[in-house]
Amino acid sequence: MKFQKRRPTALAALLLTATFAFAGCGGDDSGDGGGSSAGGDGGGGDMSVTMLPKNLGNAYFDTSTDGAEKAADELGAEFEEVGPDTASPDAQVQYINTVAQQGKDALIISANDPDALCDAIDEARSADVKVVTFDADTNPDCRDLFINQATSEGIAAKQLELIADQIGGKGEIAILSASANATNQNSWIEMMEKELADNPDYADIELVDTVYGDDDDQKSFDQTEALLQNHPNLKGIISPTTVGIAAAARYLSDSSSKGKVALTGLGTPNQMREYVDNGTVTAFALWNPGDLGYLATYAAAALVNGDISGEEGDSFDAGDLGSFEVGADGVVLLGEPFTFDKDNIADFDF
């Protein structure tokens, strides 16, 4: 097809310019509509808090954001959640930079990398943003406070307490762990062994075996079966890993041992709901991410208001959760792990 070339090109260029200009305005207009309120709040002298989880669309962080939002409402602070789609540190850096540009008062972040984010966080802090980490910490010297969900001692003690309660304080128990060299699990197991040996309350409880399911569903399932066969008198299983406890619960709920062998450990409500409802599991532990977000927001507010500076020994009030004290290295401990059972599991969705 032959057609005159030059004029259409010129026309196309002009129209393209116009269309693009309109398209650009359109895009910005929609953005402006959403952002004008934020700008207004920012100028009003109210506190503004940004929450940056590891990634969006993660039920665990949705729960912590709900908690943080509740706290922000109580404090009258402007609150917003931003985050990348995938949990990578470079994606978080852009959001940290944006918070610095916006001049927000505080940033609450679950760090995707302990070191890589420090430069960006330093820059935000030099723009007067208070930085509180929760769930996953950065190096202590690059943030103001870390809200720790639970200590190893607390996790170990809680699991023993639950299993002792469920088996009536005596009998054989076993541990179904993650991999044999998992740092967290090993330190908990070590503390549990020590506690079993030292604490007179647990004198009648005997730890007969520790097996490893490698955080693999099928392997954990098989190891549970093997445990029950090798130890016919087994009364209880502790699985301090979310994959392990769910696989063990699945095995127990279909076996003749259901209701006879107690199971507890660290699990998430969504994975365990079925087994709590059908009676396989009485109670299990984890922290409450909602409380974690709630506490982090109150801690950020206390920093922004100048109530605390993040030094060891500072204490601040955190609404419904009561009063908290800053520990060594700027760590605030949420408390002992939260126990999920039939009565409260319906309140959680993560």
Binding site: Q4, R7, P8, L15, D32, D113, D115
Partner: protein, 358 residues
């Protein structure tokens, strides 16, 4: 090729050159992108809170620096009608190599040099398969996208290396003196000048366009098609590795999944900047404006706290529109001015020449 102008005609009638110079310079796709970019920047300055803040330019330029860098060779590659999808994987691989080699005790310059060489090797593999074996670049670079990424992730697993010396990472995050312009803009400007000369002011560059228009014809006019393509993929590999090194130092972490998906941002910016995906058409200034446009839109929307998904939707729509609109407008334009062109301003042979030029 030859114009049909008669010896007596005072002006050139070769269609592409028959318009006045200013028209040929201003009424172009590149100008449209530049004007749009300027419009979006002005709009953002006026309407987006904090966009006029002191940190914006620094962060914006730092964010788009890797894309600016890779867009330079990518423009040339796409003008030849080929494509390189493996650039982000080469970035990831050079990032991991920098980390692993530094961790093994090498100094940063040595590790960076080896990472650049690895990028060159990656480009050589692409170039060899495409230019000399004659395989389609789409298939080859999809394969090497997976291959290089696989090697990168395989070398480091899911761990990250983060202990880079401060003086090197502050080079990547620092600015020129007291200004707000990041240091990384210096190597970029040097490279950009080099690529502009290469593409627009050298016989090599004319060969690049000719290959994109018709590689058979290019071959018969004396362009060494295979060598040109080989050189372009080598450049693409080594610049991607450079971008990977910058990325690693800026974010302070070497990970196997670094820069995943960057190839799409680079290609989107190149196409938005007016380079034809079919080859043979496009200029570097349009591409650089395209990169800045995407960067400004993302930055402004992030400041407005719009989620990354919305940003992706807008950039995606803009890209689709930029690919579709020229065809639609060309079609519409070919209908409208027909009556106008009935005026005696344009002699008939002119049009035939124009068509031949396409």
């Amino acid at each position: 090729m030859s114009a049909t102008a008669t010896p007596t005609a005072p002006a050139r009638t070769y269609a592409a050159y028959s318009a006045p110079l200013w028209k040929r310079w201003l009424l172009t796709r590149e100008t449209a992108v530049i004007v749009l970019t300027a419009a979006v920047i002005l709009y953002s300055l006026a309407n987006v809170p904090n966009f006029d803040g002191p940190l914006t330019m620094k962060f914006l330029l730092q964010d788009i620096a890797p894309i600016l860098l890779i867009a330079l060779p990518m423009t040339l590659v796409i003008i030849t009608g080929e494509i390189d999808l493996s650039v982000a994987s080469i970035m990831g691989l050079s990032s991991v190599l920098l980390g692993v080699l530094h961790d093994a005790g090498m100094s940063i310059p040595t590790a960076a040099l080896l990472a650049l060489l690895a990028g060159l090797a990656c480009g050589a593999l692409n170039g060899f398969l495409i230019a000399y074996v004659g395989l389609p670049s789409l298939a080859v670079t999809i394969g090497t996208l997976a291959l290089f990424r696989g090697i990168a992730v395989g070398l480091l697993g899911t761990t990250a290396i983060t202990d880079f010396p401060d003086d090197w990472s502050s080079l990547a995050t620092g600015t020129i003196g007291e200004s707000r312009i990041p240091l990384v803009m210096i190597p970029f400007v040097v490279l950009a000048i080099g690529f502009v000369v290469l593409l627009h002011f050298s016989t090599f560059g004319r060969g690049v366009y000719e290959i994109g228009l018709n590689d058979e014809a290019a071959h018969f006019t004396g362009v060494n098609v295979a060598r040109t393509k080989m050189v372009l993929f080598l450049l693409s590999g080594v610049v991607s590795a450079l971008a990977g090194i910058y990325f690693t130092l800026r974010y302070g972490s070497a990970r196997g999944d670094n820069a995943t998906g960057y190839e799409l941002q680079v290609i989107a910016a190149v196409l938005l900047g007016g380079v034809s995906i079919f080859g043979g058409r496009g200029r570097l200034h349009g591409v650089l404006a395209g990169v800045v446009l995407i960067g400004v839109i993302s930055s402004a929307l992030r400041l407005e706290s719009v989620t990354v998904n919305v940003t992706n939707i807008i950039v995606g729509l803009l890209l689709v529109a930029s690919v579709i609109l020229p065809s639609v407008l060309g079609w519409a334009g070919s209908r409208l001015p027909r009556k106008a062109s009935a005026a005696p301003a344009e002699p008939r042979p002119d049009k035939d020449a124009a068509t031949a030029d396409v």
